[in-house]
């Protein structure tokens, strides 16, 4: 019997999860253990780090004991979908299959499909069916939601059918197909909960968002029984390079946050310093591994093995911010401005800056956020709650914080209270899990947004939580598929009915969101590989719903004027290279929000951010 160790890396886009996973792989391989690293990150990410093609199979990575494999999420989802739909092709009509296919486009399905491949690897190991590895590293951990879905009783859908307690019809539809493989999932989930075999490793930055996200995720892990957890605090500024007051201020803010992280979490914590450039190749990874798993007494490093040269300066043309202010302005009717992007990339700060700018331009503006009230309050320098209040010192600007947990909880409680009087425990359990879906949260936030939009009390509504393409397509299906499809909303009308207030309402709102004059979707990213890849995927998803992103915000670009040493000059060159790539890739204006001295706190800082974001003319940064 094998005793393979499983390490799952978890963390938001842009925190350096893949790099930490790779460095950990190199560390174990150097100790003579056979290591496999598996990724589901967008294609080429792992390949980028190891500077060699890898692909959908186990591939040697250029050093003893180390192998890698890239699971392509799209391919995995397609395989997963064809397993279910393949036998029905040619039997069921095309238009019916099209409706069924849409169900497989949900983000939940993509995650389940990827996890399914992880589980296959784990199972092969347990059976001894494949070359044995001592350590298998997964660079993207499944969420608690996915794992709980797979743990649901094997036959609940059967049971529901038999007892007619329900249709057995859920957003886990595809999971029901998998349940024949129940034994496989039982083995895998037991392994996940075994602290001798499996460790979850969170990667975070030392900032308030990271602290909040880590707290939230740790609750989720506890709920699925994971007991072995470690934390890597990444991106710490080395004190030595923070001579400039600008960076000194940032350094001190990080240290204060780090203290809170130490107090808050009792897990093993590792620290990782920012490097002067992107970490690539085995040498770079070995360098990181030496800090992450140091020999006693070793001092941390932060410049990569110096080849005596700074990274070549990039043409500054890439670092020119495109003007986006005109895109934000309403034209007659209420305009919705959505900022979308992975957690932790600064959506809330960008939303505050955009809303502040619009209010200054004389528009009656509502800032709607799902950021925790305490954090948005700190950003704006005043308390923000569940009811819109005018922001003092910013005439024309009101702010409201949707407490997403509260909104979702209220919604869940309402449904469960009703269901408890009617259904058996198994059904309740399934229903409850359905209500834990990330889709429910997204919908709860979107529902509040619709209320404010319809009130027409504002010229512009800025919101930091945009619905995904999948949700928009779901909302839209009854209209675009017209006579063919009938989803949620149609069925509520008893099948055939055409008009209803709810349907009309959604039709109006979806129509507005698709009108580029009345709704703007913008992406917020760091100018780094992974966030750019993730944004590109989310953009494609939105485009399937008929919405094209109108601009992109590159956040935390280091101003050239602060780059007074080789360390930061080198980092800026890396960012400028990615800015240039973003312009080529996204074919949309790219606005630059420079890195600010501290976390944005108070209206003066918001004003500073607003001015930088909406600079009217394209001026090279720091010129």
């Amino acid at each position: 019997m094998t005793t393979t160790q499983y390490l799952f890396f978890s963390g938001k886009g842009g925190v350096g999860k893949t790099t930490m996973a790779c460095a950990t792989a190199v560390h174990h391989a150097r100790q003579g253990k056979a290591v496999l690293i598996v990724t589901t990150d967008p294609a080429s990410n792992l390949a980028d780090v190891f500077e060699q093609p890898i692909g959908h199979k186990v591939t040697p990575l250029g050093m003893d004991n180390l192998w890698g494999m890239e699971i392509e999420p799209d391919k995995a989802t397609e395989e997963f979908r064809e397993r279910a739909l393949g036998p029905l092709r040619g039997v069921l009509p095309e238009n019916v299959l099209a409706v069924m296919e849409e169900q497989f486009n949900s983000p939940c399905t993509t995650e389940i499909a990827a996890f399914d491949r992880f589980v296959d690897l784990m199972i092969q190991e347990e059976r001894g069916d494949s070359p044995a590895f001592d350590v298998i590293i997964f660079d993207t951990a499944p969420t608690g939601h996915t794992i709980r879905l797979l743990e649901l009783p094997v036959d609940w859908s059967k049971h529901i059918e038999e007892s007619a307690q329900g249709s057995g019809n859920t957003c886990i539809g595809p999971v029901a197909n998998l349940q024949q493989q129940k034994a496989k999932y039982d083995t895998a989930t037991a392994l996940l909960a075994n602290p001798d075999r499996t460790t979850f490793i969170f990667v975070t930055h030392a900032d308030l968002t990271g602290l909040y996200e880590t707290k939230r995720a740790s609750g989720e892990l506890a709920s699925i029984g994971v007991r072995s957890v470690e934390l890597i605090v990444n991106g710490l500024l080395p004190e030595e390079v923070c001579g400039h007051p600008f960076f000194r201020q940032r350094y001190e803010a990080q240290q204060r946050c780090l203290e809170r992280i130490v107090e808050t979490f009792s897990w093993t914590q590792r620290r990782m310093y920012l490097r002067d450039r992107e970490i690539k190749g085995l040498d770079g990874l070995a360098h990181v591994a030496a800090d992450l798993y140091p020999r006693a007494g070793a001092a941390p490093q932060f410049t990569l093995e110096d080849d005596g040269e700074e990274a070549a300066p990039e043409p500054e043309a890439g670092a020119v911010s495109d003007p986006i202010a005109p895109l934000l302005q309403p034209e007659g009717r209420t305009k919705a401005v959505f900022f979308t992007g992975k957690g932790g990339v600064g959506k809330t700060v960008v939303s505050c800056a955009a809303a502040f700018h619009l209010a200054e331009q004389g528009y009656n503006t509502l800032l709607l956020t799902t950021d925790p009230a305490a954090h948005i309050g700190a950003v704006l320098g005043q308390e923000v709650g569940a009811v819109p209040v005018p922001v003092e010192g910013a005439p024309g600007l009101s702010a409201v914080s949707i407490d997403q947990e509260e909104a979702t909880e209220a919604y869940r409680a309402r449904i469960l209270a009703d269901a408890r009087t009617k259904y058996a425990p198994d059904m309740l359990k399934a229903l409850e899990e359905e209500l834990n879906s990330p889709c429910t949260e997204e919908m709860a936030a979107f529902d509040r947004f619709m209320e404010y939009l319809e009130s027409e009390a504002y010229d512009v509504i800025v919101i930091d939580t945009a619905p995904t393409g999948h949700t928009l397509r779901l909302l839209e299906l009854p209209f675009s598929y017209n006579d063919q499809a009938m989803l949620l909303f149609n069925s509520r009308q008893g099948g055939g009915a055409n008009a209803s207030p709810e349907k009309d309402r959604l039709a109006r709102i979806v129509e507005q969101l698709k009108d580029p004059q009345r709704a703007v979707f913008a992406f917020v990213v760091y100018p780094e590989s992974t966030p750019i890849e993730e944004a590109a995927r989310a953009m494609a998803d939105l485009e399937k719903a008929g919405i094209r992103a109108q601009f992109v915000v590159a956040n935390q670009v280091i101003g050239a004027e602060y780059c007074t040493n080789a360390f930061f000059r080198s980092r800026r060159a890396m960012q400028v290279k990615h800015l240039r790539r973003m312009k080529e890739r996204f074919r949309a204006p790219v606005a630059i929000l420079p890195l600010l001295a501290g976390e944005v706190a108070g209206l003066d800082a918001v004003r500073e951010a607003a001015e930088a974001l909406t600079a009217p003319a394209a001026t090279p940064q720091g010129a």
Partner: protein
């Protein structure tokens, strides 16, 4: 099986449309139609535990059932998913495009 009592066996099958969630909880509000049909079927089984068997299918999970039943398949080919839900009693279609009420279910069960 209850054949010894001489009671007629009635099989009721409901073929649902494809939905993200059975309850509509993924939408802005729960789907009262779906809650009502669940409730009605439960009630019917409660009233006639020995004579009625109920099965419900979901296009997303049970596509094969839709493909194997000629009554359902032909309707899908002709009208698309708009024809769903379809209710069959002892294999014969009795209602389409909407769910039966509890009263209707009682009538089917008495046939």
């Amino acid at each position: 099986m209850t054949q010894t009592t001489g009671a007629k066996l009635v099989s009721i099958e409901v073929y649902d449309p494809p939905m993200c969630c059975a309850t509509g909880v993924c939408g802005p509000e729960p789907d009262t139609e779906l809650l009502a049909i669940r409730d009605a079927l439960l009630q019917l089984e409660h009233e006639l535990p020995d004579t009625v068997t109920v099965a419900r299918y979901n296009l997303n999970n049970d596509g094969d059932k839709y493909a194997q039943n000629p009554e359902v398949l032909n309707r899908l080919r002709e009208h698309g998913v708009d024809i769903l839900p379809v209710t069959l009693v002892n294999g014969a279609p009795v209602k389409e495009r909407s769910y039966p009420t509890l009263d209707e279910l009682r009538v089917y069960a008495a046939r």
